[in-house]
């Protein structure tokens, strides 16, 4: 499987990738900037994401908001910020490709002249409300923050979430915006992918036309981070929340994206928890009926990944029981490994998921997004072949080795989220924690 593409790097450093797909008269415009919350410092958390919001507030030559002309052209558009990168995309009818490129290039080159303290204050309020809606007022919503802070030392940018701390957002100033923009939002820090019903040469011409005139910026300083020290002490934490049922989060630091062991743990997560016949679902939800749900995930990131098992207790059960049941399954895994049959099914699952997401030219996970992901993370937009090969080379043995290497109890963070009036449901000997 591949996503055929043509690549050209403009003199200002902007990577342009073009993929033709004539199935539907639409084009995806997708821009990745190599900046995320990993580039923030303690005390300045949440800024990369706040800045993403400002990118939708209008630029010098069209200052009536970013959405208006694009929605009128029939576009779907959005953006997102992660620890690794910030992306922006539009899916437009083919007749609006010029418009989309005009708009994207205007905000890449001319955002600051249109930014005002009023826009900044307004979007800060919006982001604080996003934080309330998606984290503070949502059951279990603060667990991610406690986990991040426990897994990574406070100097490490993975110790906070992309949404940031309230006090940092409150203290962010309009003058921070300029510096951040000039450092990170330059063409040499970006990758532009165009995918859809277009002619490659024409698309490259358009990309040059709209983007070549934007001057390059200086190279941001290389991110120098020591890998987090290998933990040798298990952490057991308790977070009281407005929830009915307690939930257990078990987390381990795991190999970084594309490193040895990453694909193994990806497939292992699937073997453990995808579908009702998966190991953990079967044991906890079906057979023992002590959980309402269980999930496992390898969250791959550039500096370091995290492997997590998350399980919610059924009424009448506590997290010590859940932990014991999960431990039985992990011990069995480390002892006996997985079967060839389980591995094959997970490979098919992975292949199918990949193909399902590549049915879209645009949006999150569509072909344009995937080309940019490979380009930004590996420098090779055609990395798909090597990516899939990683999964082909996984064996039951290599999964067993990865499990044994990474799932030590002394390496884990065990967070219990429990109802306010029932701390007794937590994994025993847990210490109280608070979300910052």
């Amino acid at each position: 499987m591949e996503i055929p593409y043509t690549q050209q790097t403009l003199p200002n450093g902007l990577d342009v990738l073009v993929h033709e797909d004539h199935g539907c008269p639409i084009v995806a415009v997708n821009v990745w900037y190599r900046v995320g919350s990993k580039d923030e410092c303690p005390g300045r958390t949440g800024f990369a994401h706040l800045f993403e919001h400002l990118m939708f507030e209008g630029s010098q030559h069209y200052d009536r908001g970013y959405f208006h002309p694009l929605q009128e052209a029939g576009a779907l558009l959005n953006g997102s910020t992660s620890s690794e990168r910030t992306n922006y995309w539009e899916v437009v009818p083919t007749n609006a490709l010029d418009l989309a490129l005009w708009m994207e290039s205007d905000r890449m080159g001319y955002l600051l002249p249109a930014l005002t303290p009023e826009k900044f204050e307004n979007q800060r309020d919006v982001v604080l409300n996003e934080r309330r809606q998606s984290y503070e007022n949502r059951p279990y919503g603060l667990a991610g923050m406690v986990n991040a802070a426990a897994l990574f030392p406070s100097s490490h940018p993975y110790s906070w979430m992309t949404i940031g701390h309230v006090e940092d957002l409150t203290e962010a100033t309009f003058s921070d915006v300029q510096e951040f923009c000039q450092l990170h939002y330059r063409p040499n820090q970006a990758s532009l992918a165009l995918a859809g019903d277009i002619d490659t040469e024409h698309a490259l011409d358009l990309a040059r036309h709209y983007f070549a005139g934007i001057p390059a910026g200086s190279q941001p300083p290389e991110l120098v981070l020591e890998s987090p020290p290998e933990s040798r002490i298990e952490q057991r934490l308790l977070l009281a929340d407005r929830v009915e049922l307690p939930r257990l989060y078990l987390s381990w630091i795991s190999p970084a994206m594309f490193d040895a062991g990453d694909a193994d743990l990806d497939l292992l997560a699937d073997i453990l928890s995808t579908g009702k016949s998966s190991r953990l679902h079967r044991a906890l939800v079906r057979d023992q009926r002590i959980a309402t749900e269980v999930g496992a995930i390898q969250s791959s990131r550039q500096l370091s990944s995290v492997f997590q098992i998350i399980a919610t207790a059924a009424p009448g059960h506590n997290l010590t029981e859940l932990d014991a049941a999960i431990s039985v399954e992990l011990d069995r895994l480390m002892q006996d490994g997985v079967t060839q049959n389980e591995l094959e099914r997970s490979r098919i699952e992975f292949e199918a998921n990949f193909i399902y997401s590549l049915q879209h030219v645009g949006g999150f996970g569509g072909k344009s997004d995937q080309l940019n992901a490979y380009n930004v993370y590996t420098g090779d937009p055609g990395f798909i072949t090597r990516d899939l090969a990683r999964y082909q080379s996984v064996t039951p043995d290599s999964i067993q080795r990865a499990a044994t290497r990474y799932f030590g109890k002394d390496r884990r963070v065990a967070l219990s989220v429990v109802p306010h009036d029932h701390p007794d449901l937590a994994l025993r000997e847990s210490e109280r924690a608070e979300a910052k």
Partner: protein
């Protein structure tokens, strides 16, 4: 040539697009199959549409249809529950059930090379589930546990309170998943009877979309579904009659509050009853909704998010079902701006209806957004399958997709202003607030948005 940044580049003529058309076939058992060749990726998406949704749940047994659907992959034909799961896993198939007020959809997506197996499985799950006693007991308990878990989800509470307030004992007056109290009443016999009554070949439509010739899709599905036999009718439940029996009545302005002490935001729903899918004003109402709250640049979102910063976002929507419909605004706002946000929503509804009617510029923008964006809904196999499932459910004409853009374009200023007056009824609006009562009480009283009713957490659990 340098870029002209003095004005936006013009948008060219709309690209031509040929909408997919199905090849239709009816099996001897009465099952209608629609097959569509679509796409280049090796994917096939199937949807078995059954014309029974949560509205078909018997009175006081809300959640029956959804629990029935939840049990389909817990054992069927000769396969045990785990064998079903294994079979799905071996081909990487996605099996999802989607129960709405009007319909149950069983959706199966698989890689093309597994089409035969996927269709065989879909047929087996849909038509011969065993409803094993032990699995029934387990899955029912799991549903109850999930409903317990949802007690603290503000949006789930707000949605439920709103649906019950708007529809009362109308067949649409409950969520498809049911409530703790209604699920408690269900027995295995209920499930078996529901399946026997509604999962009938002559009452279903199978839609298949994928990267292979339609004839081939038809052949494969005929093989898989031909053994599905109609069972004799046990009884006839006339949903039309039941719906008519619950006339809408006059709705009054109400403000329903559920306390969530210490909540940083208030979850809001503001709405009233609307119209069914067959309304001749369907497209005009969609245009109106775009302007009021149906897109980022809508009046409500620009006001409450982009001007005031009270919320991460606000949206409105008209829901058009077979027998009824509603209009609703949904948003979550910071606690100290609760009454102010409600006031603004009510004000905007009043404005677009009366004092600040839709302008020509807004009309042009909204129509363009709807029409120019329309073809992108036909990119993937599952999107196309959903489009046709909708056509089958609401008995839309075969060329419906080609009619949409011209129909939207016909909506003129006079029409959109008329429907705003006709279908937005300020003195019938129900407002639901799930938030910190003590922090917002004074503001809410000052609002004068109708009778103030308080709903307690316990009421939701015991009903």
């Amino acid at each position: 040539m340098s870029v002209d940044r003095t004005e936006l580049p013009p948008i060219g003529p709309d690209p031509l697009f040929t909408f997919p058309r199905p090849v239709k076939h009816t099996l001897a058992n009465g099952l209608t199959i629609w097959a569509v060749e679509h796409g280049a990726m090796p994917v096939v998406s199937a949807c078995l549409l059954l014309h029974c949704g949560s509205a078909s749940d018997p009175e006081n047994h809300g959640g029956l249809g959804s629990l029935t659907a939840a049990l389909l992959d817990e054992g069927s034909g000769s396969r045990s529950a785990l064998e079903v799961q294994e079979a799905l896993r071996q081909i990487g198939a996605r099996f999802n059930r989607h129960v709405t007020a009007d319909a149950t959809q069983l959706r199966m997506t698989s890689l093309s090379r597994f089409t035969g197996q996927a269709l065989t499985l879909l047929a087996e799950l849909g038509t011969c589930p065993t409803f094993d006693k032990e699995q029934f007991t387990r899955v029912k308990q799991l549903r109850l546990d999930q409903l317990v878990q949802a007690r603290d989800v503000p949006s789930a509470n707000a949605n439920r309170i709103m649906v019950e307030a708007l529809y009362g004992d109308h067949p649409y007056g409950h969520n498809p998943s049911g409530t703790e109290a209604s699920i408690q009443t269900l027995t295995r016999d209920h499930v078996v009877d529901f399946h026997r009554e509604f999962y009938q070949p002559a009452k279903a439509t199978l839609i298949l979309v994928g990267a292979m010739p339609a004839e081939q899709l038809l052949d494969q599905s005929a093989t898989a579904f031909q053994l599905w036999c109609a069972t004799p009718e046990t009884r006839t439940t006339d949903l039309d009659t039941r719906c008519e029996a619950h006339s809408e009545g006059t709705q009054r302005e109400r403000l329903i509050v559920m306390n969530r002490p210490g909540a940083p935001q208030s979850e809001l729903r503001i709405g009233h009853r609307g119209v069914s899918r067959d309304t001749p004003d369907y497209h005009a109402l969609r245009v109106l909704n775009m302007i009021l709250g149906g897109q980022f640049v809508s009046r409500l979102n620009l006001n409450l998010r982009e001007d005031k910063g009270y919320t991460y976002g606000v949206s409105t929507g008209f829901t058009f079902c077979r027998h009824a419909g509603d209009f609703m605004a949904a948003l979550s706002v910071q606690t100290n701006a609760t009454s102010e946000s409600i006031r603004e929503v009510l004000k905007e509804i009043g404005h677009i209806r009366d004092s600040h009617p839709v302008s020509n510029e807004e009309l042009v923008q909204a129509k363009a957004a709807l029409t120019r964006g329309y073809p992108r809904g036909f990119e993937t196999a599952s999107q196309v399958a959903q489009g046709f499932a909708n056509s089958a459910l609401y008995q839309l004409p075969d060329d419906y997709f080609t009619q949409v853009v011209p129909s939207v374009n016909l909506v003129d200023l006079e029409t959109v202003r008329r429907v705003a007056q006709e279908y937005l009824v300020p003195d019938q609006l129900t407002t639901v607030v799930v938030g910190d009562r003590d922090a917002i009480a004074t503001g809410l009283t000052d609002l004068q948005a109708g009778e103030l009713i308080e709903i307690k957490h316990e009421d939701l659990i015991s009903n």
